[in-house]
Amino acid sequence: MKINVTINNQKRELEAAYDEFLVDTLRRYGYLSVKKGCDTGSCGLCTVWVDEKPILSCATLSVRVNGKNITTIEGVQKEAKQFADFLVNEGAEQCGFCSPGFIMTVLAMKRELAHPTEESIVHYLTGNLCRCTGYAGQLRAVKKYLGVV
């Protein structure tokens, strides 16, 4: 089926089978920042935004995003780089495989939480797993990035 979407502010016509999930379609069309981890809705690695909301692209059928706005990390590069600098400074990245999904969730959180606290940050990020870091460095980085003391 043909689907018309806007990806990172660019209108595109994509072809996707009825049972293809968004992570696979996006990767097929070259959006390789979108990673597939668990493929069961548990790890958050495949996070992208649909109409500005973070969703799991491994659990979203491509046909259902017809007419919608999709954002991958390629579409928010400047902001992503700003936050990535905080991650690097806190030594909060190892293999980096979880980073695109994690950063997309952090940037969505920045837009959504008016007054972030350590507790609300941890709650918001619960769906993003990282096998390497142990989360302490990530939390430090997020708090510094958002100015939470």
């Binding site: 909301k53 973070p54 659990a59 979203t60 259902r64 969730t105 619960t126």
Partner: protein, 263 residues
């Protein structure tokens, strides 16, 4: 891996029902998160996106939640935060992460009558009804017991009262399924004690609920009611916990929930 042969986006409930019942393998799409991890061979995937079932409406004497409402909407909705001590937002807020909650839907969850569900346990403590396209309006309790022939769950209706309700859950880790969950509510001494993820589906502990209504609600009464709940309900074992463990946890969660309702 699921497979889908065809896709339909009907504009009316009538049309949806026609497509759904035309063939056994035709299947409604909720948020798709659970369908995704199965291996169902779907004939026509029926998308409810055009039916305007994504709503939380406050009426004079009820609150209605549409089938396609996501858990994130339930978690952040001011009306649901305000009523019943915010039990519904609190119950769904433990489910995995924001991204999953931006997709999974109320209708799919209830229709599937999942044993592990946090949402169903909380909802069952609120005298809720479900509305099915063909089956009409039935109490959630009846629906959970009897299920439905192939149908469309349209919405949930919750009486808007000053019922105070509390949700408790025990999890091995933050984003895991519950080992056990419990909800206790009270309105003018009409108590409801509900326990779910036993791992069977949520059930009202009748004896415990009646006992609370008739007792003086002393510390001993609360403990006895929690004991009654653990005795009258059945529990099972799975990878998250044994039957014995769940039984022990039940007493603790029910006791905590009663105390919190009384606080």
């Amino acid at each position: 891996m699921i497979s889908i042969q065809d896709y339909a986006l009907p504009a009316t409930l009538e049309e949806t029902y026609e497509v759904l019942t035309a063939k056994k393998s035709n299947t409604i799409l909720g948020g798709c998160a659970f369908l995704r991890i199965g291996s169902k061979k779907i004939g026509v995937a029926v998308d409810l996106a055009k039916l305007n079932l994504d709503f939380i409406n406050e009426k004079n004497d009820s609150i209605e939640i549409g089938a396609m409402t996501t858990f994130r909407k339930i978690e952040t909705n001011p009306v649901l935060i305000k009523y019943f001590n915010g039990i519904l937002p609190k119950a769904v807020s433990h489910i995995v992460g924001v991204q999953l909650r931006n997709s999974v839907t109320a209708g799919a969850t209830i229709y599937s009558r999942y044993g592990f569900s946090d949402f169903i346990t909380a909802l069952l403590s609120l005298d809720a009804d479900v509305v099915l396209y063909k089956g009409g309006q039935v109490s959630l309790e009846t629906f959970l017991e009897d299920g439905a022939k192939k149908d469309i769950l349209v919405k949930v209706i919750i009486p808007k009262t000053d019922r105070k309700a509390v949700f408790q859950t025990m999890r091995n880790s933050r984003s895991d399924y519950a080992v056990l969950n419990a909800a206790v509510s009270n309105k003018e001494n009409d108590w409801k004690v509900v326990v779910g993820a036993r791992p069977q589906r949520a059930k009202i502990a009748r004896a415990a609920s009646h006992y609370l209504a008739e007792s003086q609600l002393t510390k001993e009464d609360i403990e006895y009611a929690a004991e009654l709940a653990a005795n009258e309900l059945t529990f099972g074992s799975n990878i998250r916990g044994s039957r014995e463990y769940r039984e022990a946890i039940c007493k603790v969660l029910v006791k905590r929930a009663i105390m919190e309702v009384l606080a």
